[in-house]
C-alpha cells in the first residue's frame, strides 16, 4: 500500500477526506483515479487537460518529482504538494 499525503487545500472541498491515507495503486494516475472514485471531482482538482498534473501541483514519489505515469511500489510514499503560487 502506498502512503499518500495530501495538501491542506483539499479536505475543505471533499468532506471526509483525510490528509493521509493508504492506497493500493500501481501508478500516480491510478492513485488519483482511486481518490476520484471515493471523492468525485478530486481528479479535476489535481489533473488538467493533456492529461497532466496541474502545473502548481507537485507530486513526489519517494522524494522524487513524479508524473501521472510514475510507478508506485507497495511501500511508496506519495507527497502531493500545493506549490508556492503567489501572494
Amino acid at each position: 500500500m502506498a502512503d499518500v499525503y495530501l495538501p491542506s487545500t483539499l479536505p475543505p472541498l471533499f468532506p471526509g477526506l483525510p490528509r493521509r491515507l493508504e492506497l493500493d495503486a500501481s501508478s500516480v494516475d491510478e492513485a488519483i483515479r482511486q481518490l476520484d472514485q471515493r471523492w468525485p471531482g478530486m481528479r479535476d482538482r489535481l489533473v488538467e487537460g493533456g492529461p497532466a498534473i496541474r502545473p502548481h501541483i507537485h507530486v513526489y514519489v519517494d522524494q522524487e518529482r513524479a508524473g501521472l505515469n510514475t510507478a508506485l511500489e507497495p511501500r511508496s510514499r506519495v507527497d502531493v504538494i500545493a506549490a508556492i503560487s503567489g501572494g
Binding site: L13, G41, G49, H56
Partner: protein, 358 residues
C-alpha cells in the same frame, strides 16, 4: 422585511454584505469559497442559490454554490472542461442564471450550461467564428484576458436568446441557443487595425434597461455607447466624460435614460482620474454627464473598478453599488448623489452583484 445581499467576488474568496431594505447598516460575511480567486458571483432567483465562478492556480476552475444564502458552500466542475485533448480551461469568467439553468463563460472561450443547479456542466457552445483561432491564442492575448467575459440573457425572451462578450473581439448575439452567432458591433469604434470586418471591438460591459429592452448601454475600450434597437447598432455617448475608457456600467432599473459609468485612466493605471473617486451619471441617455462624488474619497484615491464591479438593486429607491480593486465597496441609495463605504478592507474585488431576498 426584505434582506439586501451584496455579493462580492474577490481575489481571496467570496464575501456577502447584508443589510435590510433601508441599506444603512451592513454586515460583512466571509470569506467564503476557501479563499479561492472568485471572478463573478451571482444570485439565482429561481432557486435562491448563490453561485461563484472561480479558478485556483493550484486546483483549476470550478463553480461554487451556496443553497443557504452563504452559510455553506460546495463546488463542482464535473463536465466543466474541454477534455484531455481540447482547449485549456483556465478559469470561469462569468455566470448567468435564467430560465432555470446556469450559463458559465470560460477562458478559453466557451459557454457551459448546467441544468441541475450547478451539479454538472456541459459545453453549450465554443462560439464558432473564423477568428476563434485568434481569440484563443495566448500569443495574441495575454493569459487571463481571454474568453467569454460576460453573458447577458434577454430579459423578455426564451432561453435561446442571449448575448456574449468575447474579450477583445466582439459582442455576439444568439437567438438559437448558441448554434449561430451574430456580431453586434455596428457603430462601435476601434483604435487599432482590425483583421475582420465584423469583429475586433473591445466590449467591456453591456447592460439592458429593464424598462425598455431595446435600450442597451455599453462600456467599451473605446467609449461609452447606447443602443436603441436591442444592440443591432450603437451610438457613442462619450462626450462630457473625462476619458473614453472604463470597465463597469449600470443602468437605472426604473429610468431607461439614466446610466452610470466609472471612467478610468486608459493607460497602465486604469484608476479613477486625478485621485478623485467618481461615478458618472447621465439622466438623458448620454447627452450630458454629472460627476458624482459626495462621500467618495477625493484625495489620493486611485481606485479601479472592473467589468463586473458595479450593479444596482431594483427597489423603489434603487441602490447602486461598486467594488474596487483595492477592496472597498461603496453604495448609494439616492441615485449616486451621496455614497457610503460598506466595506473597506476586502481583497481586490472582481465582481459586485446584488440580490433582494424576501
Amino acid at each position: 422585511m426584505s434582506k439586501v445581499m451584496v455579493l462580492v467576488g474577490t481575489r481571496k474568496g467570496c464575501f456577502v454584505l447584508e443589510s435590510d431594505g433601508d441599506r444603512r447598516d451592513w454586515e460583512v460575511k466571509g470569506p467564503f469559497c476557501e479563499g479561492w480567486p472568485i471572478y463573478h458571483v451571482i444570485y439565482d432567483h429561481d432557486t435562491n442559490a448563490i453561485y461563484a465562478a472561480a479558478a485556483s492556480e493550484w486546483h483549476g476552475a470550478t463553480v461554487w454554490k451556496s443553497a443557504d444564502l452563504g452559510e455553506t458552500w460546495t463546488q463542482s466542475s464535473e463536465g466543466l472542461g474541454y477534455g484531455d485533448d481540447g482547449m485549456k480551461m483556465s478559469k470561469v469568467s462569468s455566470l448567468a442564471a435564467a430560465h432555470g439553468r446556469l450559463l458559465a463563460g470560460a477562458e478559453q472561450a466557451g459557454i457551459f450550461e448546467s441544468q441541475d443547479a450547478g451539479a454538472t456542466w456541459k459545453l453549450l457552445t465554443s462560439l464558432e467564428h473564423p477568428a476563434a483561432k485568434d481569440w484563443n491564442d495566448p500569443e495574441k492575448q495575454p493569459p487571463g484576458h481571454l474568453g467569454v467575459s460576460a453573458i447577458t440573457p434577454h430579459p423578455g425572451d426564451g432561453p435561446e436568446h442571449f448575448w456574449a462578450i468575447v474579450q477583445g473581439y466582439s459582442l455576439f448575439e444568439t437567438s438559437d441557443d448558441g448554434e449561430t452567432w451574430t456580431p453586434r458591433n455596428e457603430g462601435l469604434r476601434a483604435d487599432w487595425p482590425r483583421e475582420y470586418d465584423d469583429i475586433g471591438f473591445c466590449v467591456h460591459k453591456v447592460v439592458i434597461a429593464p424598462t425598455d429592452l431595446n435600450r442597451m448601454y455599453q462600456q467599451n475600450h473605446c467609449g461609452m455607447h447606447r443602443s436603441d434597437d436591442g444592440g443591432q447598432s450603437w451610438t457613442e455617448i462619450t462626450e462630457g466624460l473625462p476619458s473614453d475608457f472604463g470597465f463597469a456600467a449600470a443602468v437605472h432599473p426604473h429610468d431607461k435614460d439614466t446610466f452610470y459609468v466609472v471612467p478610468v485612466d486608459p493607460g497602465h493605471a486604469r484608476t479613477m482620474h486625478d485621485g478623485k473617486a467618481s461615478v458618472w451619471r447621465t439622466r438623458d441617455a448620454g447627452s450630458s454627464w454629472q460627476r458624482l462624488h459626495e462621500g467618495l474619497p477625493q484625495q489620493d484615491a486611485y481606485l479601479g473598478v472592473l467589468r463586473h464591479g458595479m450593479t444596482n438593486d431594483r427597489l423603489d429607491s434603487p441602490g447602486l453599488y461598486f467594488g474596487t480593486t483595492t477592496g472597498q465597496v461603496f453604495g448609494s441609495v439616492d441615485e449616486g448623489e451621496t455614497w457610503n463605504e460598506l466595506a473597506g478592507y476586502l481583497p481586490a474585488i472582481a465582481s459586485v452583484e446584488v440580490a433582494v431576498v424576501e
